[in-house]
Symmetry: C2
Subunit: 258 residues, 2 copies
DNA sequence: AGGTGCCCTTGACTTACATCAAAGGTTTTT
DNA sequence: AAAAACCTTTGATGTAAGTCAAGGGCACCT
């Protein structure tokens, strides 16, 4: 059984690409179906063509490969065209913390601006394509287009707000609340990209979910099983179907629902 | 016994202000002793005068009062001139997560950009003065001065990176590691402002520290006591002296020291 | 088809931290 | 100066999640 997300992935997977999708790979922002996610809206044709120059090149990253890693010098932001990434930081003694999962239309690399060097690793969790946006281009065009300037600020602010809510998850929520919040967030973002709001295929392992949510893989697995036993979701390995979203929301926040 | 930080606080506390400090309250960015923290460096006099216009007004916030709260419409960023703040988010059922502590020279309000509304509360932990910087001013001047533009980007990126490391703390570290990291960070930031690198007076309660670090106030207290028993720090209520910073660093990261 | 390796699940046991409770300090109020 | 409110410390006990361990499923390789 394929979810919308699977179909999407198959179509966009470079290994299985048709001529049509190869063609779409070449289009600029102005013709990109993810434009509303990456770029501000409401431009005329002429301005849009100028905005196209924010993207210098594209890069294809194979599953498991790094887009950038801690210490790399920062030159560009990356807009994900297709695929799925995790970002993570690690301690010297090898403990890893996943700081986020990013999907098509999202921007990664913001961590590098402050020190001109990246402070985390970005790993492709599936074969992916990214638009390389040299940060000097972004800044230059931002000065010319206030709407783009505002857009860049919003993207950074959104990341700050997201991390605030992850801090709430990690600091105050119990294991099942964290997993419920995680699933709801994931499916909501997929839905915003035109996929199912009830079915998804996880692109990350239990261990990676656990790292993001501050729990061990066994605890993640137990929480999945518990949700399954209670009929809230159906789980089969990385396939997840949300059967009772209300109950999931209720777990995430007991006050909000019913 | 007074730490450098206490002296600083006494001088800048509006309640005990002398005429001299009232005068300094009126100076613009160009004459502000915190300029290097808030503002980019390397401007000529003329440009600096233009940059002064980024600050519209000042606001004095009394201890315990809110600078802004969740849901407030966003219009301005705030640069802390004097004082100390916490920012926090809360769930509907009343659980609170402190997302950060901010001191003089730091910028708060970035959370509001994405949705034009603030998504957290900013509470003064002591009587404080802030410079109100209407965000439209910031954006306008950013377009004119690339150095300011870059500065704004760096401030936002720094916040993202800070939150990444808090996620690491919350997700991977044990109670004592968290407290060690917290103390080292606090004292380092105070030192950057010219205060002691070994002594400080906490402006927040054990409960607020605990909220930030994802632990209960009793656990915070026990960790303080343990560090005290081991001779790593001296604690008396909110006064803390770091006696053996190396041991503290070793706790934070067993690999780095000796 | 069988082997290899990785990921996931589940059970038994352990532990770091939370919770509950009480007492002592410190600051604020009256 | 006494009272009240709040904060901090410390001890005793409870528990959610971690750790350890074993087995099973799935995908990839030869």
């Amino acid at each position: 059984m394929l979810t919308g997300y699977d179909v999407y992935w198959q179509n966009m997977n470079p290994e299985t690409m048709t001529e049509v999708s190869v063609a779409t790979l070449k289009v600029a922002c102005s013709g990109c179906n993810l434009r509303e996610l990456c770029m501000p809206v409401g431009f005329n044709t002429e301005d849009m063509q100028k905005l196209d120059t924010v993207v210098a090149t594209r890069r294809r990253i194979k599953q498991g490969d790094l887009l950038f890693s801690n210490g790399d010098s920062f030159t560009s932001l990356f807009a994900i065209r297709t695929g799925f990434f995790k970002t993570c930081v690690s301690t010297i003694d090898g403990r890893e913390q996943v700081t986020g999962f990013q999907m098509a239309g999202e921007i990664i690399g913001l961590d590098g601006i402050v020190s001109d060097h990246h402070s985390c690793n970005a790993v492709a969790l599936e074969d992916s394509d990214v638009c390389v946006m040299p940060f000097s281009n972004v800044e230059e065009l931002s000065r010319e287009f206030p709407v783009l300037q505002r857009h860049v600020h919003k993207i950074m602010s959104r990341e700050i707000v997201r991390e605030n809510s992850v801090m709430m998850l990690l600091g105050n929520m119990r294991a099942e609340e964290r997993l419920a919040a995680f699933l709801l967030n994931l499916v909501q973002r997929l839905h915003a990209r035109g996929f199912s709001q009830s079915e998804l295929t996880l692109r990350m392992s239990r261990e990676e979910i656990g790292s993001y949510l501050g729990m061990k893989l066994e605890t993640v697995s137990r929480a999945f099983s518990k949700f399954g036993d209670e009929g809230i979701i159906e789980v089969k390995q990385r396939y997840v179907k949300i059967v009772k979203p209300d109950l999931l929301k209720k777990i995430f926040n007991p006050e909000t629902c019913i």
